[in-house]
């Protein structure tokens, strides 16, 4: 699989990464070579082979639907870049009327 600069731009956007033209030039061949490398997997026939997501066939545990976490808002917000009145601040998302 050989990626184009356009592909890399699109992937970077999906991953919410900024890429300068110089970055794109550097990333494009490296990402292509990684994808070519992983395509070795196609050498083996996996028809009917079960996909393994978790090495030990464990199922998710269930627990009673009860409140278990204490309120740690203060501790967690103490390390946030910008907070006000218990809320996380981000640039304005909704335009003024």
């Amino acid at each position: 699989m050989s990626l184009t600069a356009e592909d890399v731009k699109k992937i970077a956007h999906l991953a919410r990464l900024n890429m300068s033209p110089a970055d794109i030039e550097q990333f494009t061949p490296k990402l292509s070579s990684i994808l070519n490398f992983v395509e070795q997997m196609n050498k083996v026939d996996t028809t009917g082979v079960e996909a393994v997501a978790h090495s030990i066939d464990a199922t998710q545990r269930l627990r009673p639907d009860a409140v278990t976490e204490p309120d740690q808002r203060k501790a967690f917000q103490a390390i946030a870049p910008a907070v006000e009145a218990g809320l996380y601040l981000v640039p304005k998302v909704i335009e003024d009327e």
Binding site: L3, D7, V8, I11, A12, L14, A15, R16, L17, N18, M19, F27, K30, L31, S33, I34, L35, F37, V38, E39, Q40, M41, N42, K43, V44, T46, V49, E50, A51, V52, A53, H54, S55, I56, A58, Q60, R61, R63, Q72, A75, F76, A78, I79, A80, P81, A82, Y88, V90, P91, K92, V93
Partner: protein, 483 residues
Amino acid sequence: MHNKTIAELSQDLAAKKISSVELTQLYIDRIKNLDQQLNSFITLTPESALHEAKQADALRAQGKAGRLTGIPIAQKDIFCTQGIKTSCASKILDNFISPYDATAVQKLKQAGTVLLGKTNMDEFAMGSSNETSFYGPVRNPWDLDRVPGGSSGGSAAAVAAALVPGATGTDTGGSIRQPAALCGITGLKPTYGRISRYGMIAFASSLDQGGPMTRTAEDAALMLNAMAGFDERDSTSINMPVPDYTATLNDSIEGLRIGLPKEFFSNGIDPDVAKTIEAAVKEYEKLGATIHEIHLPNTSLSIPAYYVIAPAECSSNLARFDGVRYGYRCENPVDLEDLYKRSRSEGFGSEVKRRIMVGTYALSAGYYDAYYLKAQQVRGLIRRDFLEAFKKVDVILGPTSPTLAFKIGEKTDDPISMYLSDIYTIAVNLAGLPGISIPAGFAQKLPVGMQLISNFFEEARLLNIAHHYQKVTDWHTRLPEGF
């Protein structure tokens, strides 16, 4: 004193030959004097360490000491430590003071250990050489021009140089075992789910596993005793009793069936490494083991499968670093998208970005079946290979890494050649099995590591087999010159 194992130091503490405060001070001084050469620590915590040592001595005076009470250790900087910077060696977490302790940290604290500091690593554990760290590379104490391996390179170098008697590591594709091999120490990756992942910053959640890095198998058993166990806060934690891993260290290995995978001794292996491992195999024969050739036919597919699964999981896990709730935020974002994009682009290093992009691509619409699904099927084949092998043998033995420690800068421009240094370790993560690397000798004055792999939950057996080898060899007791 600094060259002693945790087991020996524990005896000295019990016999009152030294106090924990004195021992802690000794290691703090060693780190201050020697770590400039290695860069194995990101953060040092001498004040809280001496405070914890005092508490440990007080507990001992009350007769309440356990085997790890008062033993200084280091935590890889991927484990969250309350009130202490937890950076994951990334600029994006350079200002992150964790509001809570990881379970493994909490458990080692409860066992009475003293935290000396947080060790350097590859950024977000993505690397095999410790060169992707925001805080600069770690140097191998056996040759300062060479890498210590990675990603747990700081822990490996610090233990090898006796700056600390034991440290934690994490292993997603070899990140405990490969640096242990390249630095000449013992490193155990337990079965997936044996040690809680809670508070261990996630890279690839279906592969990540924490474990101990020490000089000996006996010390690894002591640390594993404290670290292992069920944790309801980790959804994939395994609910099984934890044995005393030290109790079976001396059990006989007479008649042990060792399997040598043909694929682990073929193309790409340094002949010196192969020769050293063959000598170790002879040692096991003398100890009463029988040797059998086995096949793990899909070994070569483990790296391609891993470099789909791990990036896919990482692209999803690292989505949480958005400049909103914690960590780095870019200056003056113009809108929300700019905030996300610039915080992430300025905060992550190149290798991390590369893996996020590979993962994003593999999971994007239209490519899922070709990459992610295919990789999970290959993972199924790899696990099947191991389970077939364990019908014939008790344990699998081979080299941990195909090469000796390589030069700093040698592989940084070629991601794939870097990835290939994990060829013998990655399959073990994909299968979820436990594996250990122990020192097996030296070639060109550099350590060679031997890897032992067992069936699920047989850590006690692995430690037992490793311990027997360490009783008849002295590779694990060697210290690099100048340390």
